[in-house]
Structure formats: C-alpha cells, structure tokens
C-alpha cells in the first residue's frame, strides 16, 4: 500500500490504531499538539532525510502558516479548511522565496542561511502590524469545517487534526517513493553524478523545499486553530531548533521517526513546563546525547536492531 514494505504497513497500522484509540485515554488537546508537531517534523524530515539539507529556519514557515490561518479565520471568517489551506499556501510561497536563495549553498552554509532568513522573517513579524507584535493573534475561533461541522468540540477538532496529519504523512510517503523522490535521494548521495545524468538538481531541491515548507505551513495553520493563538514563539528560531531535535531524536531519514520524536518531545515539554528553563537544558542534553551516542534516533535504532526499514 502506497509503497509501504510489510514492516512499514504493520507500523503504519499500529500508528493509525493509536491515533484512533488515544483520544479516549489521553487529553485530546495534548494529542493534537503531538500531531501538529509530528506533521511539522515529517515536513522537516523531507529535507534533511531525503535531500540531505539541514534547514535551521523551518519555524518561519510554521509560524507564518500559523499567523495567516489565524488572521483569515478571525477577521475574514473563512472556513476552517480554507484557513489551513491558506496556511499551507503561505508556507509554500515563503518556501519558494527563501528556498530559491538558500539552495545556492549546501551543508553548513545552507543551515546558516536558512537560520538567517528565518531570523529576518522573525523581525518582520515583530514589526508588521497584522501579527499583533508581542501579543500575537489571540482568541482565534476554530470556526466551522465545510460550513456545517462545528469544531469547538475537542473531539471533532481532533478528527480534523488526525486527518490533516495522516494526509500529510501519506503525501510525504508518496513523494519519497515516487520517481521524483528517487532523484532526491540520488542528489543526496552524489550531487555531481545526478547533474551529469542530466537532472537539474537545483530544481529538484527547490521543489522539495517548497513541499516541505508547505506542509510546515499546514502544520502551523492547524496548530493555530487548535490553540486559538498565533504568536512570535512560532516563528522564533527556538522552534526551528525544536523541530530539528524532534526529528533527530525520532530518527533522521526514517518514515516514522518524526512522529515518534514528536510524541516524546511534547510529552517531555508537558511535564517539564513547570520548571522553566530546565526545558531548554533538557533539550540541549538530548541533542548532545543523540549526536554522541544515538545518531540513528529511536526509530532508527529499533529498525536497525530488527534489520528492517521503518
């Protein structure tokens, strides 16, 4: 199914089962946050895992998607679906502009350029009138889906978020296993060779970047609807760092890693939130431990032990 291997099909079915069962056991709003961050991390993983480019500026797309979705649903009273689509479109458009500049360099420079460009977006959001500056856009209504499904109920909203996440997840999976995705992996392994085979590698990288930033925008837009708020935190570089951490912990370049990482990181933040800056310290320690001892991440390690690709 969708190019899943047998082990991946089983893992996928387990994940779907968890998504269905969990809201009856756990607090739905917490789970919605997990799913939004998971989609965001999956989008980020598309760049680092399959193109081999580390973007340190994905918060720009997540945050701008969040602002646009919040603004349109609050002041234009658009449908919830339209707001999320507009969030994604904003991410894609911004991704096209920033990606066009960033793909001119690779490796460490790519990371620094995306970080700097995202910082520029942050300063723009700080000054621009529509973002509400330090206050952000607050009290955003969840609105209605397709004009008649009221989303103010947490369970209804959860179904939408789960649908958005699974849609994004399967889209990424489809992209990776398409001929286009194979070319991306070829570029990751040996760019000069891909060029010599006649592929315009820059175009491929840019398209992948736009897809990734679009999904990050969708994740941001969905998050804005869930929590009814869009703030500077979403565009801040700490959010970029967090998505890097989430993906690294779950497993760079694995299919299920980002979702696993999101579950662990959001749970951790939930429990540590009362201890202030200890969240930052813990995140830093996880970074260091992952890089030194645990480079394949949770899912990568499990897959490695069982000799399967997850």
């Amino acid at each position: 199914m969708f190019g899943f291997s047998r082990a991946q099909t089983i893992a996928f079915l387990v994940m779907v089962a968890l998504i269905v069962v969990c809201p009856f056991i756990l607090y739905p709003v917490f789970l919605m946050r997990v799913l939004c961050i998971a989609l965001f991390a999956c989008a980020f993983n598309l760049m680092i895992g399959y193109v081999g480019l580390l973007s340190f500026g994905h918060a720009a797309f997540f945050g701008m998607g969040s602002y646009v979705a919040a603004w349109t649903i609050k002041f234009w009273h658009v449908d919830a679906s339209i707001a999320i689509v507009l969030g994604g479109a904003t991410g894609a458009l911004l991704g096209l502009c920033l990606g066009y500049l960033a793909i001119r360099r690779s490796g460490i420079y790519f990371a620094m350029i995306t970080l700097a460009l995202a910082q520029m977006v942050y300063f723009f959001c700080l000054e621009a009138p529509f973002t509400g500056g330090e206050d952000g856009i607050q009290q955003v209504p969840r609105g209605k889906l397709f004009g008649f499904i009221d989303l103010s109920n947490d369970m209804t909203m959860y179904c939408l978020v789960a649908g958005v996440f699974l849609g994004g997840f399967l889209l990424i999976h489809r992209i990776i296993h398409s001929p286009f995705g194979q070319v991306l992996k070829g570029i990751r392994e040996n760019e000069p060779r891909a060029t010599s085979l006649g592929y315009r590698t820059d175009d491929y990288k840019l398209i992948a970047f736009v897809l990734s930033s679009m999904l990050a925008g969708v994740a941001g837009g969905t998050k804005a609807l869930v929590f009814g708020i869009a703030t500077l935190t979403d565009v801040h570089y700490a959010t970029s760092g967090e998505v890097v951490l989430t993906t690294l912990l779950g497993g760079l370049g694995t299919v299920f890693g980002p979702a696993m990482g999101a579950l662990v990181i959001v749970t951790m933040e939930n429990y540590l939130a009362q201890f202030g800056a200890w969240v930052t310290v813990t995140q830093g320690v996880i970074f260091i431990v992952c890089v030194l001892a645990f480079r394949r991440g949770i899912v990568g390690e499990i897959g490695g032990r069982l000799k399967i690709n997850l």
Partner: protein, 295 residues
C-alpha cells in the same frame, strides 16, 4: 550644527559610532567562527553562549572575588578558553570523522544547555556591570562627543583583530596552522601534533568570543540571552564574508556594523533586518561570499 544629507551631524556620527561598536563585536565573533571552521570544519553554534559566558565570567570575578575589569579582560578569556578546550577534548573531538552537520547539532545542544543553566541561575532580566572608573566620561572630538568606553571598545577590538590576523598570517605558528587547514595528514606526517593544534585553535576562538563578552558586559547588561541576540546576525555576517579569509571576516564585521548604524539614521524600521537583506543580495550576486573561496 553641521547637517549631512539633512541629518544633524552629531546624530549621524553617534549612530556611526554605535554601528562601529556592533561591528567590532561582529568582527571578533565571526573571526573566531572562521578560525574554528578552518581547523575543525564545524560551525560553532555555541559561540554566542560562550560569548555570554565571557560576560558572566567578568561579572562573577567582580562580584564574588572582587577582581576588577582590567584583570578580567585577561582572566575571563583564559578561563572560558580553558572551558572551551575541555569541551573540545571531551565532546567535539568525537565527531571529526562524521558529517559536519553533527558538529553543528552538538554545539547547538551545548548552547541550549549553557544558556538554560545561566537562565536558571540568574534569570533573564540582566545584571548591571559598571564601566571602569578610568573609562567613564566622554571626549569632545570637535564634531561629536564620544563616550570614552565606546572608543575603548572599538580600539580594543581593532587591536585584537589585527593581532589575530598577524598571528595567523605572519608567524610560524600561523603558517603551521594554515598548512594544517589545507592538508592535515601531510602536516601530521611532518611531526606536528595536529590534534593538539586543533584543540588550541578551538580554545583560541573561544577566548576571542569571551574577550568580546567582557568588552560587551558594561555596554549591554549581562544576561543569558545576550549571545543568542548577536550570534544569529553573526551567522549572516559569516555568510556575507565567506569563511575563506581572516581579514575578510574582520572587514565584513566592521562594515556591516556601520551599515546597520547608518540604517538606524535613515530608515530605523529596517535596522534589524538590513544585515539579512545584504546577505540576500550577496547570495544572489556572489553566492560564495565576498571573500569566500570556491567550495
């Protein structure tokens, strides 16, 4: 009053001086990054955190041990430089055989830990650090009043940058260093202890950041976020200059500080973003950076 382009002279020169000071910090930090990158091939994300530690170190020396500003200017870089050497020996040196991106992720994690710990211990509101008695007051330069401390910062930064350049380009130690940057195995074959050279380079780069931190302590309040605020701009400076040349990082750092200062006079809203705009222009016209070599 002198008017230049319809702007009062003192205002223009005042902002120019502020720009020059920011530029001095950009220069010292991007210089350290470039030196470290040359030898270790990693981008040191912890640079901002260690800059902040330099400022805190001088604050601690004063408040806990009663050691004043001038001794701190020497002691703090030594202490933080030693700390940097410990970091390199225990953590960073394990990553040289891996993809460079892991070095970036590790140092980013280090930055989070350091900043988090300082925020826990000292809060994020900032601690005052007084300008030393000798350097208080201002001097009349004829066209403007210059606060003495600010002049001192620009002077110190220029001297330190020049000294670093001279060590790397003009001494035999620097020649070994440059050779090791080009081809480490060959230099090792000549009997040079390259791993030790790498460790010392990292320590040196960190000491430079800490020195900048001590200089910054009386200007900006000493707080755990001061490094982060700077370092994101410094990365843009590094992209603009390219990490190929020592002199290049110094010139780019100072120049961008001045550009930022001038923007504050003519179009204040853009002053936070102007460095990034310059970066975009450079990426479009000269992707390797102003002084960068071909990859």
């Amino acid at each position: 009053m002198i008017m230049i382009f319809g702007i009062p002279g003192p205002l223009l020169f005042g902002q120019l001086l502020l720009g020059l000071i920011n530029g001095a910090f950009y220069a010292m930090l991007s210089l350290g990054l470039a030196v470290i990158f040359g030898m270790l091939n990693i981008i040191n994300f912890a640079h901002g955190a260690l800059f902040m530690m330099g400022a805190f170190c001088s604050w601690m020396l004063l408040n806990y041990l009663g050691i004043g500003y001038f001794p701190a200017l020497i002691l703090a870089p030594l202490i933080i430089g030693a700390f940097g050497i410990v970091l390199e020996k225990t953590l960073i040196s394990r990553l040289y055989k891996l993809d460079h991106l892991y070095g970036l992720l590790l140092t980013f994690g280090l930055a989070l830990v350091i900043e988090g710990l300082f925020r826990n211990a000292y809060g994020s509101s900032g601690l005052p650090y007084r300008i030393p008695q000798v350097l208080t007051g201002a001097t009349d330069l004829g066209f403007m009043f210059m606060p003495n401390y600010r002049g001192w910062v620009v002077l110190c930064a220029a001297v330190v940058c020049f000294a670093t350049w001279a060590i790397i380009e003009k001494t035999s130690l620097g020649a070994t260093l440059r050779a090791a940057t080009e081809n480490a195995p060959l230099v090792q074959a000549f009997g040079v202890n390259v791993p030790r050279l790498i460790t010392l380079t990292y320590g040196g780069g960190i000491a430079l950041a800490a020195f900048a931190g001590v200089l910054a302590a009386p200007i900006y309040s000493v707080n755990p976020n001061m490094g982060t605020n700077f370092i994101n701009t410094v990365f843009a400076v590094v992209v603009i200059g390219g990490m190929g040349s020592i002199l290049g990082s110094i010139v780019t750092g100072f120049a961008l500080g001045v550009v930022e200062g001038l923007t504050k006079v003519f179009y204040p809203q853009a002053s936070a973003t102007v460095v990034f705009v310059v970066m975009v222009i450079i990426l479009l016209t000269r992707p390797r950076g102003l002084f960068g070599k071909a990859a």
